[in-house]
């Protein structure tokens, strides 16, 4: 009797989740459907999901933009370098805060955490002036470096390292391993789930970033994909070029989808693990 009631409850929850998931997916499906409609058709009809004419012209237009693969490559370089840089810096800083003692550690950590509360936009103008002054406009360094300051990454890794039992580290040190070796051989491998989470968040943020590339990359061949695709839109794209706009959204989102598909098990495991880690959970 109880089992039946439970099973009915589970089915109801499942049905509710399906409805919510569909509601969440609906705008994405709409975007996908509109990306295959001619622009002039969408001038007067944006409610047609499956009806109406179908075209691949919007995607062809993207591929016929001469710099589009350059923009994809730029985005990939920036996102990968930024992800790698954030992983290295956040891991080192997180380990330092979690496992070492040095004067002012608490204050420095508080300052890093304070960085989480500062919106990126508020430091935008001075940051741009600084990078321009250094001659980094239209360079990969200019695109990548600001993203390496990642308070969230430091915070995440600090908390993760703190949760790793100190005995593991002590055992390695008893075997004459140096602190660096202990970090590289013992602690770092244990933090792979957190690294994967941080990598995905950083990669997505970097790939989708529009605002910083907007001002630091002003030569078309240094545009990132988000920036480049936006530059091709006509003045009233939301009305007269809607199909093209939607195709751009799908095209720009595909690599993100691929990355998520490859890394999702790490993401889920890490997010679940941060709340429920036990000594045996490696």
């Amino acid at each position: 009797m109880i089992a039946n009631r439970r099973s009915g409850f589970d089915r109801a929850v499942l049905a509710l989740l399906c409805v919510l998931a569909f509601a969440w997916m609906l705008p994405l499906l709409w975007v996908l459907a509109l990306s295959f409609k001619p622009n002039d058709f969408l001038l007067s009809r944006t409610d047609a999901f499956l009806g109406g004419p179908t075209t691949f012209a919007n995607y062809l237009n993207i591929f016929q933009t001469s710099l589009v693969f350059r923009w994809v490559a730029n985005s990939a370089v920036v996102a990968i370098l930024q992800t790698m840089g954030v992983l290295v810096l956040s891991s080192l800083a997180g380990y330092g805060f979690a496992r070492t003692e040095f004067p002012g550690r608490r204050i420095v950590f508080a300052l890093v955490i304070f960085g989480l509360a500062i919106p990126g936009q508020s430091v935008f103008v001075p940051l741009h002036r600084l990078f321009s002054h250094w001659g980094l406009q239209n360079t990969y360094a200019g695109l990548v470096l600001p993203g390496l300051a990642a308070p969230f990454g430091v915070y995440l890794m600090t908390q993760y390292f703190r949760a790793i039992p100190a005995e593991l580290e002590e055992a390695a040190m008893l075997d004459n391993a140096s602190r660096l070796k202990t970090f590289l051989r013992v602690i770092l491998p244990l933090s792979l789930p957190a690294q994967a989470t941080l990598a995905i968040f950083t990669f997505l943020a970097s790939w989708n970033d529009y605002l910083w590339p907007l001002v630091i990359a002003t030569k078309p061949d240094m545009y990132t994909l988000t920036r480049g695709l936006a530059s091709t839109q006509t003045n009233f794209a939301q009305s007269e070029g809607l199909g093209f706009l939607m195709a751009q959204a799908v095209f720009a989102g595909l690599p993100v989808l691929v990355v998520y598909m490859f890394f999702q098990k790490h993401l889920v495991r890490a997010v679940a693990g941060t709340g429920t880690r036990s000594r045996g959970d490696k």
Partner: protein, 453 residues
């Protein structure tokens, strides 16, 4: 597995970037015998796939198509001498990107600029005066239309090449207008000549068709509210800005009359509610309203729609300037212009090339007018070729009746948005009139004060 994936992706990306080659810097040296390169920064989108190699503007349509073809033609005509590198930025954050380039010293030689933005760049000494350059290039400023002259001449100097005048029009669905008895025998709309006539016609239209007379982008598009509002104020010979451009005063009878009219139309159901820019256009194209208030740039699009047999506009599209409802013929207008950025063409050869490009664009102002925008040359506005284009004979009056916000008002786009937001709050959201007017003044004056600090 993950490591291999990352490494492969990084390697692939690096190869791709390397394969694309290094950035080709603009030719800054004038001593070389090769072609001189200049950077041109603009919005209007990118349409390489359709017009990437087209050098005949007459075969192009739309802003992007015509401009791309014009630059292609210029490059072809000047092969071996001048290369214009077009750098396209999107319309929304265009000025943010231009400013970022100026800060970084990456200055384009020529840039497109709204005339409403020109004053800011002149005051900051970021653009070159062009009086001597135009004389040298053979651009006759005496041929500027009245509106173009008001847009680009400041403090007695010419600061930009006016390229077009764009303005605020009424687009009509003549099928519905006929149904409402608001069409003349020759198929033109019966236009109102006063606020009372407009209200009466709107009621007549609603009664006959069951549909609202108007659609305009009242939601999410503050500039549309501002342009209609300012047009109604200008038509009463009203002013909202102080002569020195440093403050705004909206506690005037002209402002109240303008708001009263807009409010009544909205409250009586003569404006389709809750429409943003694409929504208002869709309502018009689907025959849900009789009249759409929007700019010059949609004419070509609506004419194309009207040719389709299944269109609600089929064989029934008309467009007129915003009708004169008060004593003075006046319509909100702005224009696109081309500026020579200070420091963007440091070499005399580059400067000469930039002026040659401007002369070319000046010569082709008539081609550009096919977009729906109005010409900035009197000789073209009055030419038989221009007047023969659909509706242009009626629209040409805007080249003299167009009124812009005075040039000494800074950051006009922000100001226009602030005005539009508060007008929208009063009309659409029924914010109390006094509170709305107070907030409008407070917000705009704060913005204007910031401009002068």
């Amino acid at each position: 597995m993950l490591r291999r994936l990352l490494l492969a992706a990084a390697a692939g990306a690096c190869v791709a970037v390397a394969g694309c080659g290094p950035t080709k810097a603009a030719d800054a040296g004038g001593a070389g015998a090769g072609p001189v390169e200049i950077d041109l920064m603009r919005f209007f989108g990118s349409c390489e796939s359709d017009y990437g190699t087209n050098t005949d503007p007459s075969r192009a349509v739309g802003e992007c198509g015509i401009l791309t073809s014009l630059i292609n033609e210029f490059n072809a005509q000047n092969k071996g001498r001048i290369v214009v590198n077009t750098q396209v930025a999107e319309w929304g954050p265009y000025y943010d990107q231009l400013n970022a380039r100026l800060v970084a010293g990456d200055v384009p030689a020529v840039a497109v600029m709204h005339e409403s933005m020109l004053g800011d760049y002149v005051r900051r000494k970021l653009v070159e005066p062009l009086d001597a350059g135009f004389a040298q290039a053979g651009i006759a400023t005496s041929d500027f239309t009245d509106h173009a002259r008001r847009g680009v001449v400041q403090d007695g100097h010419v600061w930009a090449l006016p390229f077009d005048t764009w303005s605020w029009l009424w687009h009509f669905n003549m099928g519905l207008m006929k149904q409402a008895g608001l069409a003349t025998a020759d198929g033109k709309p019966v236009l109102p000549h006063s606020p009372d006539e407009l209200l009466a016609q709107a009621r007549q239209f609603r009664k006959a068709t069951g549909k609202p007379y108007f659609a305009w982008a009242a939601a999410n598009e503050p500039s549309a509210n501002a342009r209609t509002f300012l047009t109604l104020v200008y038509q009463q010979d009203g002013h909202v800005f102080a002569p020195d451009g440093r403050s705004i005063d909206v506690h005037t009878p002209e402002v109240r009359k303008a708001l009263d009219l807009m409010q009544t139309l909205y409250d009586e159901g003569d404006v389709k509610p809750g429409q943003d820019y694409p929504g208002a256009n869709q309502s018009f194209l689907n025959g849900e309203v009789g009249t759409l208030i929007v700019g010059t740039w949609t004419i070509g699009q609506f004419m194309t729609e009207a040719k389709k047999p299944d269109s609600a506009l089929h064989a029934g599209y008309q467009v007129t300037p915003f009708p004169q409802l008060f004593a003075r013929p006046a319509i909100f207008a702005d224009g696109h212009s081309w500026v020579l950025m200070k420091g963007g063409s440091p070499d005399p050869r580059q400067r000469a090339a930039a002026l040659a490009l401007m002369r070319f664009l000046w010569d082709h102002d008539g081609d550009w007018a096919r977009t729906g925008h109005l010409p900035t040359r009197k000789s073209i506005a009055t030419s038989a070729a221009f007047q023969a284009l659909p509706f242009r004979r009626d629209l040409a009056e805007i080249t003299s009746t167009g009124v812009s916000i005075q040039s000494n008002v800074g950051t006009q786009r922000s100001v226009e948005n602030l005005i539009g937001e508060e007008v929208g709050n009063m009309i659409v959201s029924h914010k109390a009139r006094e509170k709305g007017l107070h907030d409008l003044e407070k917000r705009v004056n704060a913005q204007l004060r910031r401009n002068h600090h």
